[in-house]
């Protein structure tokens, strides 16, 4: 095999994130690839087993260290750089985890990074979006230099499970810095589907007017549809919705089957986040709103009348 690809696993200590399975699909699209997944954790057993079960994965390396209890870029980067030697490609997901970590790895390896890979045309030629997705650039890397990249989540399906790769423990030899310390994470646990992987998403914008109205108007509809909830930047800035719900160029880039944009004007930065949605529905009282230029189904009207009616019809 001429292309040895190392993927840095994203996980929460117990569960492998679906982003890793998407990286595997991207890696598998590189010709003649042999895929290794690295799991950095305090106790890697459970996550390593899930990585080993992904189809297409040939090896899993677990790097166990107490400092890996939280996935801090400054702590992980030297460990990944230390094992990267034999690999031609080092990939991570283009999630906040991978965006934080991978450039630090690239700099330690003295190599450039290709962010948001949407397609691998060969082992050295990739396509990625720039200018909020308004242009797609083809990037060539000199053959012979290591490729470090992040994988755009909306461009790849997760690899299926059913594999059984061997798991190998590797000693952490890199020096681990103590200058960066985890304090806390506040993640609103929700029974709703995860925004990044949901097949249906209902999103609200500035028009919702308040946090109460955002919840009252959108959450019932989302539940009827079994959808995740998203938001525009304006809705997040105004405090109607938490930051992790922001969809767009500088938020999450998603590719659901169904995206329902409610009271969202459709700024370029928002549209970047939903270009890969299969069907876009827009509900907006302004028939000239740019969201209608990308919507498959548009409904012009007052959301405060339409949404309750829609909920009633959905039973």
């Amino acid at each position: 095999m001429s292309n040895r690809i190392l993927i840095v696993a994203e996980h929460d200590g117990a569960h492998l994130n679906a982003s890793t399975a998407k990286c595997v699909t991207c890696a598998a699209s590189i010709p003649q690839s042999e895929i290794t997944v690295a799991v950095c954790a305090a106790d890697a057993a459970a996550v390593a087993a899930q990585a080993a079960a992904l189809q297409g994965v040939a090896h899993v390396i677990s790097l166990e260290h107490p400092a890996n209890a939280h996935l801090l870029a400054a702590v992980l980067a030297p460990q990944i750089a230390a094992i990267a030697g034999p690999f031609t490609h080092v990939l991570g997901p283009s999630t906040t985890f991978g965006k934080d970590l991978m450039p630090r790895v690239a700099a330690l390896l003295d190599t450039a990074q290709i962010s948001d890979i949407m397609a691998a045309e060969s082992a050295t030629r990739f396509r990625r979006p720039i200018y909020a997705g308004n242009a797609i650039v083809t990037v060539d890397v000199d053959s012979g230099s290591k490729v470090v990249g992040t994988v755009r989540m909306a461009s790849f399906q997760p690899a299926a499970s059913g594999g059984s790769a061997p798991i190998e423990k590797s000693a952490v030899s890199a020096e681990i810095p103590s200058h960066t310390r985890f304090v806390s994470v506040s993640a609103a646990r929700s029974y709703r589907p995860d925004l990044q992987t949901a097949t249906r998403v209902v999103s609200g914008g500035r028009a919702l007017g308040s946090a109460e109205s955002f919840q009252k108007t959108l959450y019932g509809l989302a539940d009827k549809l079994g959808a995740a909830v998203g938001a525009s930047r304006a809705a997040v800035d105004a405090g109607y919705a938490p930051n992790e719900l922001q969809v767009g160029q500088t938020g999450k880039i998603i590719a659901p089957e169904l995206y329902v944009a409610i009271g969202i004007s459709g700024a370029i930065q928002h549209l970047t986040g939903i270009k890969d949605a299969r069907t876009i529905v827009a509900i907006n009282k302004d028939g000239e709103a740019p969201i209608f230029e990308v919507a498959d189904i548009g409904l012009v009207g007052d959301l405060f009348q339409i949404i309750p009616e829609l909920e009633r019809l959905l039973g």
Binding site: A77, P103, S115, A135, R181, V185, D237, N243
Partner: protein
């Protein structure tokens, strides 16, 4: 002297509709409005507030790029930065080159804090801060929505996919800004006049000893696939019917 260094990238304004050149050689940038990368404005605003609280003494802005970058640096001086460093460079400046140049400026100026944007909205790379932190062997706190300084440490709240994460870093450190860190101030007219007298030093990559290597070749630019124009429905009932006919309900 307690200094903060800010990275300022000159980019196509966020309101401009980007078009790909018909021959696929790039995007149209001639005659297009250029601005300070919005995240860098947030970075500068944060530094100015820290200085206004007397937790820093000097705010330095730095930009690597062609002579035109000086326009954006002047705007930064008008916003309140104390001095500007322009590192002259034509052509593509990859994040690793920008990070190496910034490292040289860090070595020269010895800031206790470097604040960059989380991403430049032209190339959408989101790399430079992390690379600088790696090369400098210092902490990074990316995607910051809150920054609290506490002596030799900083506590930073970060916008991550799961929600908000708080980390503590020893200083000096590199911070990259997210949208909700602050709302940048507007430049006042008299300040534009005053800024003309503030120092703006010009350097070159060569003088800093940084090689302008381009490791990634941009061989072709394509417009993104266009979505088909859809249909309009007149009410909620028609919307439900349309969703059903697409097999979505």
């Amino acid at each position: 002297m307690k200094r903060i260094l800010i990275g300022i990238k000159r980019v196509v304004d966020y309101n401009v509709r980007i078009r790909v050149k018909p021959d696929g050689s790039g995007v149209v940038t001639d005659g297009v409005k250029m601005s300070i990368n919005p995240f860098d404005e947030i970075a500068l605003e944060e530094a100015l507030r820290i200085k206004e609280r007397a937790a820093a003494e000097e705010v330095i802005v730095a930009s690597i790029g062609p002579a035109d970058c000086q326009q954006q640096l002047r705007t930064c001086l008008a916003m309140g930065a104390d001095r500007a460093l322009h590192v002259q460079a034509e052509g593509v400046v990859e994040p690793l080159v920008a990070a190496r140049a910034l490292l040289k400026l860090v070595e020269r100026e010895q800031p206790f804090l470097v604040i960059l944007g989380k991403q430049a909205i032209d190339d959408d790379n989101s790399q430079t801060g992390q690379m600088l932190a790696a090369l400098w062997q210092r902490p990074q706190a990316t995607f910051a929505s809150k920054l609290e300084l506490d002596g030799e440490k900083a506590r930073v709240t970060r916008e991550v996919d799961a929600g908000l994460e708080t980390i503590e870093v020893d200083l000096p450190a590199v911070i990259t800004t997210d949208l909700r860190l602050n709302e940048p101030r507007y430049v006042k007219l008299p300040d534009i006049m005053k800024a003309k007298k503030k120092p703006l030093e010009t350097l070159t990559l060569a003088a800093l000893g940084v090689e302008q290597r381009q490791r990634l070749k941009h061989t072709r630019f394509d417009p993104p696939p266009q979505r088909q124009k859809g249909v309009k429905v007149k009410d909620a009932a028609e919307l439900v019917a349309a969703l059903k006919s697409k097999g979505l309900l």
